[in-house]
Amino acid sequence: MACRSLTVILAVLAPDNKRQVSFGLSKICQDANTAVYIIEFVLRDLIGGEFQDRVRLHVDVGGNTKDKDAAQALMDRGLSMTQLQLLKGPITARTKNLPAGTEKDQKAADLLLKVPKVA
């Protein structure tokens, strides 16, 4: 079966619409039968009437088959309430103090990788 690269992004908006947490999953084909998964987390704040990226992190979950399965399952099944609470709670808390425009933060990226592992 030919592998096809695809991205699905769904926004999770804060109720006050002043903060956006975007959770995206990409399946990236290495070859016809090989894919890696990328989890991307973006935190945006409403500044001057426009949403601006504060933090953008991505995690490559390509190395471990178990992680890949979890990422694939997350794409197909959606996030559970516990996963959402982890995302909107501790993970957001740990990223909001990162400097604006942050793209690499290993600690936060490690946390992000844990979302699919939570039941």
Binding site: V8, L10, S22, I38, F51, D60, A73, M81, Q85
Partner: protein
């Protein structure tokens, strides 16, 4: 500042490939054979189907954006193709699409990339990105109440947020038998904040008529409680419009307030109500021989108090609304009630979708009115004049509330004769209007092959599930333990502030370095965790205090440890930091009792919170017996799905340039659905809280994100022909048998799901998500960029009381025409005949109508 760069991705080394490169999707082959990138293209939602693409600015914007994006992609036209560049370009494109605007209720982006137009001779390959985004489309769904000009503009230029701080002129032209050819413009200027946040005006004119409206508008929306929104305005309107032998003029200043409720009940009934006070002048120019003594003053002051109430309800593709208005009017110089006007108006709309994108649309409306007066002082301009234009009882709002007899075979204001030589309108009326439109030609908004894409359907189901879980978190305050959790947060706030005060007191005198380090650990950012311990904890509590929807999220951050994930809560870290401060404090001769005394209350609060959080989350928990009841049936799928997988594995892989062209895609579809179904069964067995896995499998979210099992059954059905063509009749039959068994089990799972007791919070979330499902269903299965529909029109109307039996008749309008629809904007052109003409009346009237259909409500 927007961060657009993509971080480095460590893609795996590309394996060696064959020397010759069959034109398939084998990425490595193109790289190792030194292919170059031909064209880099984008296919959008609007790309293929739009003969009038100049109208749809979003298409233009996407293409313009893509022109700017292309140079930033790692892949370059004419340069060497590499797998790494191909993949990083895909990711970067996805990031660039993921910019969001205020006011969007949800946003979904689906992006795929593929290789096309492989040219082995020239060694070139094109890269094509296919994009689906709800950008703009979702903005249409943002509010149920909108100003008409905003809606129509949003339809044509669906750019979220484009209205803020910009003057948006919207010119228009029209023709009406009484006004002739007229033209004008609407415009609005919107800003945020303030009592007045919107200025709107609408002016139009022709050789024989003029109208003008100016309004200063303020509004407020409410997240909770009965009231959804309120709007207030001060407005002035002027009108000078003829009607055959008469001319009606008025100038009115009005102050107005109205509001609406949040949707109520399972059908989402929304109530609306309001009041206005109006004053001005009304004048009716009548033919010289008209007797007006019995009719009332033709030229008079005008004053009125109006009150109105109504409701709207939508279910599926049906909508109903009804309104009642009461007007107490002044017709003379004295301030008193000279007349009372009652108006009722109702309508019903339905779209029947027997075939996708070809709806049969039915619109029925009825209105009636009555004026009573003891003094007889009813300004002629206040009487009921009928014709092919509605007159709103509440001017200046988008509340559709007609207050005049509508009959399309009469030009505006021309249904006015109550007797020979008496074109003075009636004191009572009723009218009924029916419109039928059947779409016969269309260009779908979303390419139909995209709407059938298994990947999209499966992932869309996952995304909607996420939205449902997110919606559930909005209702966690219904849990009995929620208040206790809020109390815990208040206690925690007190303890942390006391701790902060203690640290401030110590800091107020010079302290040795180790002590300052220990204090800073509470208040400065920890480089390992990025957390400012106490300030961030207090911020989290403040956020929870301000918005109950985030209470549990913040409580999880503050109190819940995830030892398996190496995530530590704020409280645990505070307690550890207090413990760590003991030694440096003791070494400096400082007492630690003020710090230590907070440990016990902190731990007590934490214990209470971590007990309550799961109890609160459990408000959405299904009964364990119900979960097992459903899971037992779901597990019967396991051997069947294994059988399908086995059959698929026995089939040969598709060849490049396979003679049965659809073999690869159909095989891929069955395989994807089989995997998704197997994953769904696993999910059902892992989930001891909900039955959402079974719902995804057997029920789905409408036709767009349909049930996974439905997708599996359908994909097997569509795989039959390619299998037969390739000579795999036995495999086709075996798969078909499996599909039959899956279908039977799906029905049984549905039956069991119907018997399951659904928690209240789940019901509420389902209601919220049903809206999303409905919107997506419309976008994918119904919405057309352009459509043509023949229209049939039937009208019945009557005004009274009549002074001549000859005029005491029902009046009819029978007509036909054509509707051109651009997304949800409908232009109707036609002619309506007057089959029972009276002296002085026309044969009929042309119908030109511009309306916005409520596709997304």
């Amino acid at each position: 500042m927007k961060s657009l760069a993509v971080g480095f991705l460590a893609f795996a080394p590309v394996p060696a490939a064959a020397q010759t490169c069959p034109c398939g999707q084998t990425l490595a082959c193109y790289q190792t054979n030194n292919y170059r990138v031909g064209k880099i293209r984008i296919e959008t939602l609007f790309a293929k189907n739009v003969p009038l693409d100049w109208i749809f600015k979003i298409q233009e914007l996407l293409l313009n954006d893509f022109t700017q994006i292309k140079p930033e992609l790692a892949l370059k036209e004419g340069e060497k193709f590499t797998v790494g560049d191909y993949n990083s370009s895909h990711l970067k494109f996805g990031q660039l699409l993921d910019a969001r605007n205020a006011g969007e209720r949800f946003k979904l982006i689906y992006l795929t990339s593929s290789l096309q137009n492989c040219n082995p001779a020239a060694l070139t390959i094109d890269v094509v990105y296919r994009v689906f985004t709800t950008d703009g489309l979702s903005f249409l769904t943002a509010r149920s109440e909108r100003r008409n000009d905003k809606v129509s503009r949003a339809v044509l230029i669906p750019i979220p947020g484009s209205g803020n701080r910009k003057l948006l002129p919207q010119p228009y032209v029209g023709f009406n038998a009484t006004r002739g050819l007229f033209g004008g413009s609407k415009a609005s200027f919107k800003t945020t904040g303030g009592i007045i946040n919107q200025l709107e005006f609408d002016v139009s004119g022709s050789g024989s008529s003029a109208t003008a409206d100016v309004a200063l508008i303020g509004s407020k929306e409410f997240d909770d409680g009965f009231i959804n929104y309120t709007q207030w305005q001060v407005a002035y309107s002027y009108s000078n419009v003829p009607g055959d032998s008469i001319r009606l003029k008025e100038g009115i200043l009005r102050g107005q307030i109205f509001g609406g409720s949040h949707p109520l009940g399972s059908r989402g009934l929304a109530l609306r109500f309001g009041a206005s006070i109006e004053g001005g002048h009304k004048q009716a120019d009548l033919p010289a021989n008209t007797i007006t003594a019995a009719a009332g003053p033709a030229d008079s002051r005008y004053g009125a108090i109006k009150a109105y109430v109504g409701g709207t309800m939508n279910w599926g593709r049906q909508a109903w609304r009804a309104s009642y208005g009461l007007q107490l009017g002044q017709g003379g110089k004295d301030v008193r009630v000279d007349y009372i006007k009652h108006v009722v108006d109702t309508s019903y709309s339905a779209r029947f979708l027997a075939r996708e994108h070809k709806p049969l649309r039915l619109d029925v409306s009825g209105s009636a009115g009555l004026i009573t007066s003891r003094s007889g002082l009813v300004p002629i301009g206040e009487r009921f004049f009928g014709g092919n234009i509605q007159k709103s009882f509440i001017q200046g709002t988008d509340w559709e509330f007609n207050s005049s007899p509508v009959i399309r075979s009469f030009p505006q204001n021309s249904l006015n004769l109550i007797g020979p030589g008496l074109p003075i309108g009636g004191k009572s009326f009723f009218s009924i209007n029916l419109t039928l439109a059947q779409t016969i030609w269309y260009r779908a908004a979303v390419p139909e092959e995209l709407a059938r894409e298994p990947d999209l359907k499966i992932k869309l189901g996952g995304a909607i599930t996420t939205e449902r879980e997110n919606a559930k978190s909005s209702y966690l305050d219904l849990a009995p333990d929620f208040k206790g959790l809020v109390t815990d947060l208040e206690k925690l706030d007190t303890v942390l502030k006391e701790l902060n005060a203690t640290l401030d007191a110590v800091k107020s005198t010079p302290q040795p370095g180790p002590v300052m380090n220990a204090i800073n650990a509470f208040v400065e950012k920890n480089p390992d965790t990025n957390i400012r311990l106490i300030p961030d904890a207090l911020d989290a509590i403040a956020a929870a205090h301000a918005d109950k929807k985030v209470v549990v999220d913040q409580a999880v951050t503050l109190a819940q440890d995830f030892p398996d994930l190496d995530i530590e809560s704020s409280i645990t870290t505070v307690v550890k930091t207090i413990t760590n401060a003991r030694d440096p404090f003791a070494a400096a001769g400082l007492p630690t009792s003020e710090l230590d005394k907070q440990i016990s209350p902190l731990q007590a609060i934490q214990q209470d919170m971590v007990t309550k959080i799961p109890l609160i989350n459990d408000i959405g928990k299904y009964d364990a017996n119900d979960i097992k009841f459903v899971a037992d049936k779901v597990n019967e799928l396991t051997p069947i799905l294994a059988g399908i997988q086995l059959r698929l594995s026995q089939l040969p892989p598709p060849q490049d340039n396979d003679p049965v062209a659809v073999y690869a895609s159909k095989l891929d579809a069955v395989s994807q659905y089989q995997k998704a179904a197997a994953g769904g069964v696993t999910q059902v067995n892992q989930d001891n809280v909900t039955v959402r896995g079974a719902e995804r499998l057997a029920v789905g979210y409408g036709e767009v994100a349909s049930a996974v099992l439905t997708g599996l059954i359908n994909s097997i059905g569509e795989f039959q022909a390619p299998l037969q063509q390739k000579g795999f009749s036995a495999q086709a039959q075996a798969l078909s048998d499996h599909a039959t068994r899956v279908k039977a089990l799906q029905n049984e799972i549905r039956v069991r799901l119907k018997k399951v007791r659904i928690p209240e919070i789940e019901r509420k979330a389902n209601r919220d998500v049903a809206y999303t499902g409905r919107v997506l269903d419309v976008i994918f299965r119904e919405m057309n960029l352009v459509a043509i529909s023949p229209v049939a029109m039937i009208d019945v109307a009557r005004i009274g009381p009549l002074v001549s039996p000859t005029y005491d008749r029902l009046r009819y309008g029978l007509g036909g025409g054509l509707r051109l629809s651009l997304v949800s904007l409908d232009f109707d052109v036609g002619y309506s005949w007057n089959p029972r003409r009276l002296p002085g009346e026309r044969h009929g009237a042309f119908v030109f109508a511009l309306s916005v259909s409520d596709l997304f409500r």
